[in-house]
Amino acid sequence: MSDARHLFIGIGNPLRGDDAAGLLAAQALRRREPAGVEVRELEGEPVDLIEAWAGRETVLVADAVCSGGVPGEVLRVDAAAGPLPAELAGTSTHALGLAEAVELARALERLPARLVVYGIEATSFAAGAEAGAEVRAAAEHVAAAAAEELAN
């Protein structure tokens, strides 16, 4: 594991259409080879997330979201400032996700000083499918925005 001060985490499933959004953003950022930034691709399991961002100064997380917007739309949320908005929180009643990981870490005082979540609006989750064109373009856009944010 790298001890880079900055960490970018892409969350998603590569085999479920637009759900790959966060992974695609991570891959796009990695191609830019940003200095002092570790890029990781995770499944989004809360314990793994909290563990991953321990000791980091800045953590950016990209994940697919379903907030009712148009595919590829990008939302930027300062998660260190407060809970993720309700429309981005837990669509699953079955397992804990990113929003729960953020709140659990907040309760345990284990949030990094800067934690930003990029939500990429996703609509299609067909098994075995690739992400849609809008989502792939949005992933590139998130990588560019993240690179800029981490350079400052």
């Binding site: 499944e43 399991e45 314990v47 793994d48 909290i50 563990e51 699953s92 009643t93 079955h94 397992a95 804990l96 729960e100 709140e103 659990l104 907040r106 309760a107 345990l108 005082e109």
Partner: protein
């Protein structure tokens, strides 16, 4: 009987801290409980139908998708049913690995329920997050344990959620001894901490409720083994049958208020499967460390208070770490990662102890190895009737409680079961109506 006909109606339209979607309705006339219905409204998922025509080798991975919390249980029951049909047995190191990955799942699932979903009920918190602010040490311990469970599943199964390394006959690739050895320090620390958690749960305050359940679980053919991955089906009222006799012993029926089938013992009624059943019928088979911890926690002679299931889960977490360490010590790398077999037309039955209880699979396959019919009976649907009966007894004994307190206790009664509604739908909204 009370002559008070005033109407009291308490409602929770959507039960929190359970997995899946459902509701509960309680109707009270004065102090008499008229109706208790656990309503499961999560839509049916039709897994049994979509398995038809698929290759037998696909069943473990397809059925694993029924649940993100207990995929190993689905994989194990499916594999064993197929192996039963094919006439093969998975023994030695492959069986060790199967039990080891299952220990990881018990830890993952029980930790999520114990620390994040169930403990807040006893301490008066709305959520696990609210509890975490005041009980950081406890929750951190829970996270470490869950992480150790994740690593165990990852090491044997390839990844922590929906493992990809499990197949009919064994595994695609057997882990090295060294890879398992590397888990030891973390597992040993978590075993120590699990002992602290047993003590911590034992000190909680429990509502009074002793129930005379018919307890149903597996019992291993080996006398020194707590049931996890396989065994025959036994009950506290004399059932002792092979997995193939599941249908002859239990029956399922549809009820109007639930999309999950209700199960019962043929000719009798409700039964209980899960941690309480396993513990009461097999507690002498726990490891010495777990037996001692249970005795110290005050449940050494058994436990029929469903609220104390949190203590039993804590004991099972301790056991799972202890057992995982034992299994790692015993592990020898196998010559082949799986037992191979040619398809044949046959029927196979598979059972295992999912964290929530007995999980039964039955498949009929044709000569080409295609699935002709599939049947899956998950633990939550088997427990629905017992949940309703717990609620009926608890409400009847506590009608004097104010509506809000009664509602909370009813929710807690349901969470005692760690119900997995998504698995059972084929579920929570809580409504108490007082007439």
């Amino acid at each position: 009987m009370s002559t008070d006909n005033s109407t009291r109606r308490i409602e929770t339209s959507y039960l929190a801290r359970v997995e899946g979607e459902g509701a509960m309705h309680v109707r009270l006339r004065g102090e008499e409980v008229e109706a208790v219905e656990l309503r499961i409204f999560e839509p049916p998922r039709l897994f049994e139908a979509l398995l038809r025509g698929r290759d037998l080798g696909e069943a473990p991975d397809i059925t694993a998708r029924i649940c993100g919390i207990c995929p190993v249980a689905y994989q194990t029951s499916a594999c064993q049913a197929m192996e039963d049909a094919l006439g093969i047995e998975v023994e030695g190191p492959l069986r060790t690995l199967r039990r080891l990955i299952y220990c990881g799942e018990w830890v993952e699932s029980h930790c999520l329920h114990l620390y994040m979903l169930h403990a807040p009920d006893f301490l008066g918190y709305e959520s696990g997050f609210a509890m975490a602010r005041d009980h950081r040490e406890v929750v951190e311990r829970g996270l470490r344990a869950k992480k150790a469970g994740n690593r165990l599943i990852e090491t044997v199964g390839g990844r922590a959620v929906h493992p990809i390394n499990v197949r009919v006959g064994g595994f695609y690739k057997a882990p090295t001894r060294r890879a398992l050895e590397e888990l030891r320090p973390e597992l040993e620390r978590c075993r120590e901490e699990a002992l602290q958690t047993v003590r911590w749960t034992a000190a909680l305050e429990f509502p009074e409720l002793e129930r005379d359940y018919e307890l149903v679980c597996l019992r291993s053919e080996r006398g020194d083994e707590y049931p996890i991955d396989r065994g025959g089906i036994v009950s506290s009222r004399g059932i002792d049958v092979a997995p193939a006799e599941f249908d002859a012993t239990f029956e399922e029926e549809q009820v109007p208020h639930s999309t999950a089938l209700h199960a019962r013992v043929r000719g009798r009624g409700a039964y209980l499967t899960g941690p309480l059943a396993r513990f009461n019928l097999n507690r002498e088979r726990l490891s010495p460390l777990a037996v001692e911890a249970a005795a110290e926690a005050g449940i050494g002679a058994g436990c029929r208070n469903p609220f104390r299931s949190i203590v039993v889960r804590a004991v099972e977490i301790l056991y799972a770490f202890d057992e995982a360490l034992r299994l790692i010590d015993a592990y020898e790398e196998p010559d082949a990662p799986a037992v191979e077999a040619e398809p044949r037309a046959a029927v196979g039955h598979g059972v295992s102890e999912a964290p929530r209880g007995l999980l039964y699979h039955r498949y009929e396959i044709d000569a080409d190895g295609r699935i002709v019919t599939a049947r899956i009976v998950p633990p939550t649907s088997q427990n629905q009737r017992s949940i309703e009966e717990d609620l009926r007894e608890f409400v009847a004994a506590n009608t004097a409680l104010p509506d809000e307190d009664l509602r909370h206790r009813c929710e807690q009664t349901i969470r005692n079961y760690d119900p997995c509604i998504s698995c059972s739908t084929h579920f929570l909204k809580l409504e108490v109506e007082r007439l």
